[in-house]
Amino acid sequence: MPAIARGRPFLEPAYCKGCLRCVEVCAKGCISPGKSICAETGLIAVELHLDTCSGCGLCIEACPEPFGLRPESEVTRHAQDYQLEDPAKLFGQKPSEQAPPRDRPPVKIPLPECEPLVLKGNYAAAIGAVLAGCRHVYGYPITPSTEGAELMAKIMPKLNGAFVQAVSEVAAVNMMYGAGAAGVPVMTFTSSPGFSLMLEGVSYMIGAEVPGVFINVMRGGPGLGNIAPEQTDIKLACRGLGHGNTHAIVLAPSTPQEMLDLTMEAFALSFRYRNPVVILGDGYLGQMTGSVRLPPYLLNPGLPAWAVWGDKAHRRNLICSIHLSEADLEKHNEHLNAKYAEIGSNEQRAELYHCEDARVLAIACNTPARMTKGAVEEARSMGIAAGLFRPVTLWPFPIDALRDALTHVEQIVVVEASPGQLEDELRLALSHAGIAPPPIASVRRLGGNLPQQGDILACIRETQEVHA
């Protein structure tokens, strides 16, 4: 590389910061500290006297400013003319202005019909991610989510994908940020304490509009808690995704089949909205083996136009969560708010079971929803008009479907393995929607115990006696 020999220097005084690093290197004494303050910068630019200049270029090498000392030859106009020119137009256009890249859409590849698989929830989610085209998995082992990562560690190399066990969850989420910034589908398996550690990175992903899928197989807390199932990260996922104005779609599967289906769905949503998506499973669901049917296709993902991919077409792109000026950051947040509102109106999902004529409506998600369904059936067999409303999206809460389901409801029973975090989401959604709810009773368990069918049925019956 020609380190020196750049030739004689040229300087637009407004771009000189007066640091004098050039002065000391000129053996010919061609550069001297200036005498007057530059009106535009308030700094004192150096003065050039190039009569004795040898063109050694050392001064150019010493200048820290990209548009400070420059070789005369690089300047499009002759030096004498520069005062007549707008300084901004001094340096010619480089051929860097590529046409904006276009989105390359994903390609659907048909799958033959297969026998149902018998899979653990964690494995089902991993297979779902593979079918969604995910070939980049970053994580840190944590029970009870590790099987997912272990399967990915086995599968990814065979598909020329990347599985990296990071030094920590903090590193893992930032690897997700990098892969998402490059525009590829990326995911992690984690569990509650690990998810806590990732939240700073989630905030950056939301701020920079980077997609990525987080599978949080919730376990007991707080602190180290235990590794049995709880639903106590609902608050975190719905209200606490790191600092700042953050939200992400939160999906709550209740069967191994849904672990697969919703994981595939999560990737699509994540790219549609350029936002992370969180799948909240519970420890039971992660470990539970059940029947899983494969979809009729898999995806070869495309490449979004905004990706920082590392080629000519995408060179113009920037992934970044900084907006230095108050006006810019406010505008960015308004953009995010519009996105959240769009998600709120488009992406609510719920399963309704015997809700049409329900007088007592049980509300539950994840595995507890299964016990609740059992209790609802049992209640029906006793002549109680019970129904189950199962939110599949916890954020946005499926309030529109709930509003309809509440028509005849005299009593709500919220069932959860949490101290009321699901109920809080419910109450907040009701309140925002201006719906005055019927009385709300609750069946709550903690510590890794799940609400059992008998307890739920007892609660349903008790509330019916009150209403009778």
Binding site: A14, C19, V25, P66, P87, E115
Partner: protein
């Protein structure tokens, strides 16, 4: 030519002077390294392929200047972001540009672990001995005695000595090239340019990870003019941070990553999926009006095979058209102690997947029997290993109790591990939950790659059934 933008449109929206000048203080070393980097990118012809990771610190806005793909990272995490960019597109030239707080303090774990991985990325480490952006606080690289905003009396022993990153990184196995350079005179600047270009070239050639530490001037927080800052680096910093090449391994290009595969056949094989054939192996789904749901508890010690038996049961049930679930016990007990499995088989849909009141219990040892027999539902079935449990006490009334010598039968087949299959045979005969042929079919499928062990498993299954039939008279 260089890889700088023609106009710094992102710097204060490109208004006025910001369009062509940096946000760095006069004389700041960052500007010089930026120029070296921009020239190297241009001269190596990789501008289109370059992805620059901007850190947090004074160079947080590096993306204002470089006309390349830009990703801005959280404090300390640039190498993690860089690694993922490189693995996403191995053709990209990925540069992680970081300061001393970013690389040597908050991001130390990422710095070291990713250097050790050795994936070809280029890390440029600006060591100016102080925190710039936050206003002159102690850096891990501040010198002993150096006064900073958070070491007002000077760095002392209790703060630890300055961290020599180049030496630390050089003694890892992962990196191929590590050099520390400086900017304080023309000679050092030439070396810096060369080192940066070499670090990028090694990446382009797929040879490995390169780390270039640059001793850079921060006149502002040293509170001296740029010339004195150069002098401080030469006389004060360099003795603590000796310049030079710390590692330069001769490595042949090795980094090749073929494009990811989306081949459905490979993926189905990895998922363990079998194509549905005409005259499908599995029965159509069963739907009963009452959603009849039976639950099973299989409990034993770690090596008894309760989980495998449970899984075979679940698979057979699903193939038979039922909905079925299996939940293993987990917790410390699954690491060696007792291991138990809950299985449900339902016509329609399994609701509660746990088996708190099982219809059927298989107990492989006395503790399991003692623990779970009392939970078995009225009218249920209790099967236990009568080889290991000689004299069971306190079994609940109103349950059908069937002792079967699982261990003895398996030992008689010269294969002790098949006692769980003996138990399955017993369960089949005792409950008729599934047709024997269906469970055998699942066993055959399970051992399709190990046909030699199939006969003994079939024999074990038959022997378990026979034992129950004999007991029933």
């Amino acid at each position: 030519m260089s890889a700088f933008y023609d106009h710094f449109a992102r710097h204060s929206h490109g208004q006025g002077l910001a369009d062509h000048s940096t946000h760095y203080c006069p004389g700041c070393g960052h500007g010089l390294v930026h120029r070296d980097l921009a020239d190297a990118i241009d001269e190596l012809g990789v501008q289109d392929r370059t992805v620059l990771i901007s850190p947090v610190g004074c160079s947080v806005f590096a993306y204002y200047y470089f006309d390349v793909g830009n990703t801005q990272a959280a404090h300390g995490r640039a190498p993690a972001v860089a690694l993922a960019h490189k693995l996403a597109n191995p053709e990209a030239v990925v540069i992680s540009y970081q300061g001393d707080g970013d690389l040597a303090s908050i991001g130390l774990a990422e710095t070291i672990s990713i250097a050790q991985m050795g994936v070809p990325i280029t890390v440029i480490f600006i060591n100016n001995g102080i925190y710039g952006m936050t206003g002159g606080q102690l850096a891990p690289t501040s010198l002993m005695g150096q006064k900073t905003a958070t070491s007002p009396e000077g760095r002392n022993a209790s703060m630890g000595k300055p961290l020599r990153m180049a030496e630390l990184i050089a003694q890892l196995d992962g990196p191929v090239f590590v050099e520390r350079v400086a900017l304080y005179n023309a000679k050092q600047r030439i070396k810096a340019r060369k080192a940066i270009a070499k670090g990028i070239r090694l990446q382009m050639e797929g040879r490995g990870y390169a780390f270039i530490e640059v001793l850079a001037e921060c006149p502002t927080h040293l509170k001296v003019n740029p010339e004195a800052a150069e002098e401080w680096i030469r006389t004060q910093m360099e003795p603590v941070f000796p310049l030079g090449v710390k590692k330069d391994a001769i490595v042949e290009p090795w980094f090749h990553r073929p494009p990811p595969s989306f081949d459905p056949d490979i993926i189905l094989a990895l998922a363990g999926a079998d194509r549905a054939e005409a005259g499908s192996a599995s029965a159509p789904a069963r739907h009963a009006s009452g959603n009849r749901d039976r639950s099973f508890k299989l409990a034993g010690a770690g090596g008894d095979g309760a989980q495998t038996a449970a899984l075979i049961l679940t698979r057979a049930a699903i193939a038979e058209g039922y909905d079925s679930t299996h939940i293993p016990s987990y917790g410390p007990e699954s690491r060696g102690g007792t291991s138990f499995a809950d299985v449900h088989i339902a016509e329609g849909e399994v609701l509660n997947p746990s088996a708190a009141r099982p219809d059927v219990l298989i107990a492989f040892n006395a503790p399991s029997l003692a623990r779970f027999a009392p939970t078995v539902a009225e009218g249920g079935v209790i099967l236990y290993d009568s080889t290991t449990v000689k004299d069971p006490k306190g079994l609940p009334a109103g349950r059908r109790v069937i002792p079967v010598p699982f261990t003895e039968i398996a030992a008689g087949l010269n294969r002790p591990v098949v006692k769980n299959v003996v138990a399955l045979g017993a369960l089949q005969a005792a409950t008729d939950a599934l047709p024997a042929e269906r469970i055998l079919g699942t066993l055959r499928h399970l051992f399709k790659d190990k046909p030699s062990v199939l006969p003994v498993n079939e024999a074990a299954f038959a022997a378990g059934r026979r034992a129950v039939e004999l007991a029933a008279g």
